[in-house]
């Protein structure tokens, strides 16, 4: 994420407009921005080099084997698409419910949703080993396979996310294209992308209708995508995977980790560009409350998953369960419980730590812990042999770690580039909310304030 020098060294001018604030990352890339940008590019290049190594030498360079055939790449696929889900849902649900605090956070939420989805969707290809085999998905699809369902679901969700990100941008492009600080190239770009936006009543009505339809569609689409993603596990006759709870379990986990990503990205941009005046602390408090609710829900889902397996205690299920909570993966599992479920809740519950900084720390815990949880869903069940043989082991190799690190850096890079091109704040949304609030205030003004009453 970006961490750039503020454009000015002192406090922001009182006359600073929303447009000025929204365009600050576009107009000012300080030394720290370039440092972060360079570091992320370096990490992405490391990821590319690791992937090239895998292409040349085959999947044998990964830690995968005949038993543990899904590992870090599948973990990353589930995790990154989950991150995306939260961003899109935050934007869609807040828009549908008319939450007035959404304005300052929806653009960042939509951008992180798009970036994480674009990167997450690469992992099935990386997992295949040879990218040209993607073509076979299209020419000889195996429609009995949930992986093909995944492909369709992710493509549909990507289209919806692009539309959700792009449509509000049209209004902002029209609004900001005449901004005096913009250079001629950006001004031309904004003008083209504005599609003639002038903010007329008719144009606003068209945009509002479209955004409502897309926001409504995004909610079930996101549920479909993550449920179908869970099918890849739950439709498999394997202890630890074959569970009816996996659909909602994946959905809740996706929203939870996605909200955490939105919080983290928003805090970083808020601090880096001194946007405190436009992204108030109550945004983080509200998102923190959402995180707490989701943490409890996810904790309960985890409890239910373990209880249903442990209560029946089929031999194979019990073996996976013990591996997870008491044996080999116990440290990772209880680490997830501590940092993914307990610490975030404690941080938000205690008033003193209910600040943007602490909530950002909680979101880092959630992101890391939820990645570990996806690993624990994917790998331990595979280590138990289904048809005899020994318990397998899996240790990620440097190639896998390089690819995943590069991909994670790619998300940050995409977000940084997007906000070098487009405003970080949703100008249109914020203005709409302001207008609504002013209209509300006028409507409920006390009669004594009116001239008639005074007369």
């Amino acid at each position: 994420m970006a961490a750039t020098e503020p454009p000015t060294t002192g406090p922001q001018a009182p006359s600073e407009t929303l447009a000025d604030a929204a365009l600050r990352p576009v107009l000012h890339a300080g030394r720290r921005w370039w440092l972060v940008f360079g570091a992320l590019v370096a990490l992405v290049l490391i990821g590319v080099a690791a992937y090239a190594t895998q292409l040349v030498h085959g999947l044998g360079v990964t830690g995968k084997n005949d038993q543990v055939f899904w590992a870090l790449y599948t973990t990353s696929l589930v995790a990154f698409i989950g991150f995306s889900y939260g961003g899109a849902l935050v934007s869609a649900i807040l828009r549908l419910t008319g939450a007035t605090w959404r304005g300052s956070v929806v653009r960042i939420a939509e951008t992180t949703a798009l970036a994480t989805l674009l990167v997450g969707a690469l992992f099935p290809v990386i997992h295949l080993g040879h990218p040209e085999r993607v073509w076979e998905f299209f020419v000889t699809p195996q429609f009995n396979s949930p992986i093909v369902w995944d492909l369709v679901a992710i493509a549909t969700y990507l289209l919806a996310t692009v539309v959700l990100f792009g449509l509000p941008l049209v209004a902002d492009m029209g609004t900001l294209s005449a901004h005096p600080a913009l250079g001629p190239r950006r001004r031309r770009l904004y003008h083209v992308l504005s599609f003639g936006w002038r903010g007329s009543h008719a144009q606003r009505r068209h945009l509002e209708n479209a955004l409502t339809v897309v926001a409504i569609l995004i909610v079930p689409l996101a549920i479909v995508v993550h449920t179908v993603l869970s099918y890849a596990f739950s439709l498999t006759s394997r202890p630890g995977w074959h569970s009816t709870i996996f659909g909602p379990y994946f959905v809740i986990g996706a929203i939870y980790s996605g909200v955490a990503v939105v919080v983290l990205a928003t805090v970083l941009y808020r601090r880096a560009y001194h946007l405190e005046g436009w992204i108030p602390a109550k945004v983080f408090r509200n998102l923190g409350y959402v995180m707490v609710a989701l943490a409890i829900a996810y904790g309960y889902a985890t409890f239910t998953e373990l209880t249903t397996e442990g209560y029946v205690s089929e031999v194979a299920d019990a073996a996976v369960l013990y591996t997870l909570v008491l044996e080999r993966y116990a440290a990772l599992f209880w680490g997830f419980v501590l940092f993914g479920l307990i610490v975030p809740v404690v941080i938000v519950v205690i008033p003193r730590t209910r600040t943007p900084g602490w909530i950002a720390f909680a979101s880092i815990c959630v992101i890391g812990a939820m990645y570990v949880k996806r690993f624990l869903i994917t790998v331990p069940p595979l280590t138990r042999p289904l048809i005899g043989g020994e318990t397998a082991t899996y240790t990620p190799t440097l190639v896998e770690l390089g690819v995943v690190t590069g991909a994670a850096a790619g998300i940050g890079l995409i977000v940084m580039v997007v906000f070098r091109l487009f405003p970080v704040l949703a100008v249109y949304e914020i203005e709409e909310i302001e207008a609504q609030e002013r209209a509300e205030a006028t409507r409920i003004a006390p009669p004594a304030a009116s001239p008639q009453a005074r007369a």
């Binding site: 406090p11 008719a202 068209h206 945009l207 569609l217 943007p356 609030e437």
Partner: protein, 231 residues
């Protein structure tokens, strides 16, 4: 009763004595075998691999590798790695599994042959007293053991009421659902852009001073605060 007399009856050893002896002696022999590996001497190792087909339903086929010293003694308790050059990974190597040799020096990994033959590499990494050894060998499978086709061997997957694989109807179901959603999204997006462009000169801008509202320095203040950040 004129049936054949069992060998035990013909012998002069009482049956009960044999049972008692078995119960007492056999565990001792077995534990002694488990406790002492067959070979611990410094020696050249040899490695052979073969396919062990199963004739019993539910019992898997195995690839078995035998690790021994040059004098033929079995090497127990050592890990052997089975790797295959797999066409599915573009002619790359993929691990079939790892297994530890038993008292007979044999390490086994279960296998479901998907092709008539595999190019298998079996390797023993060596130990303090034993040299490493790698064997590359083409393993040919009996035709009846080879599983072909996309259907999983256990017959899983979805079927329709006529027990036809849902693969036949799923393209229609998935394709129709996806196409409807894609059509709605594209229609909404392109339609909105077209309408916005069409109406660019219709009506007056109703924006309340778009992009000119000032922010607030109060972190808790509403976004629409009319005042700019305070020093």
């Amino acid at each position: 009763m004129t049936g054949a007399i069992s060998p035990l009856h013909r012998s002069h050893v009482p049956l009960g004595l044999l049972v008692v002896a078995s119960v007492l002696v056999l565990p001792v022999v077995a534990s002694a075998q488990e406790a002492s590996p067959a070979v611990t001497t410094d020696d050249v190792t040899s490695l052979t691999v073969e396919f062990v087909p199963s004739t019993v339903k539910g019992v898997p086929h195995y690839l078995a590798a035998r690790l021994s010293t040059s004098d033929g003694s079995a090497v127990a308790g050592e890990q052997v790695r089975f790797v295959r050059v797999a066409d599915i990974f573009g002619g790359r190597k993929v691990e079939l599994g790892r297994a530890t040799t038993d008292n007979g020096g044999v390490a086994r990994v279960a296998i479901v042959p998907r092709e008539p033959d595999y190019d298998v590499t079996v390797s023993f990494a060596g130990s303090e007293s034993l040299e490493p050894r790698t064997v590359e060998q083409r393993v040919v499978f009996p035709p009846e053991t080879v599983v072909t086709g996309a259907r999983p061997p256990h017959g899983g997957g979805l079927v329709d009421p006529h027990l036809r694989p849902l693969a036949e109807v799923m393209p229609g179901v998935i394709g129709s659902a996806a196409l409807i959603v894609w059509a709605v999204l594209v229609f909404v997006a392109l339609g909105t852009l077209w309408r916005v462009r069409r109406d660019r000169d219709r009506g007056f801008p109703t924006s309340p001073g778009v992009g000119t509202g000032a922010g607030s320095s109060d972190g808790d203040a509403a976004v629409s605060g009319a005042q700019g950040p305070q020093p």
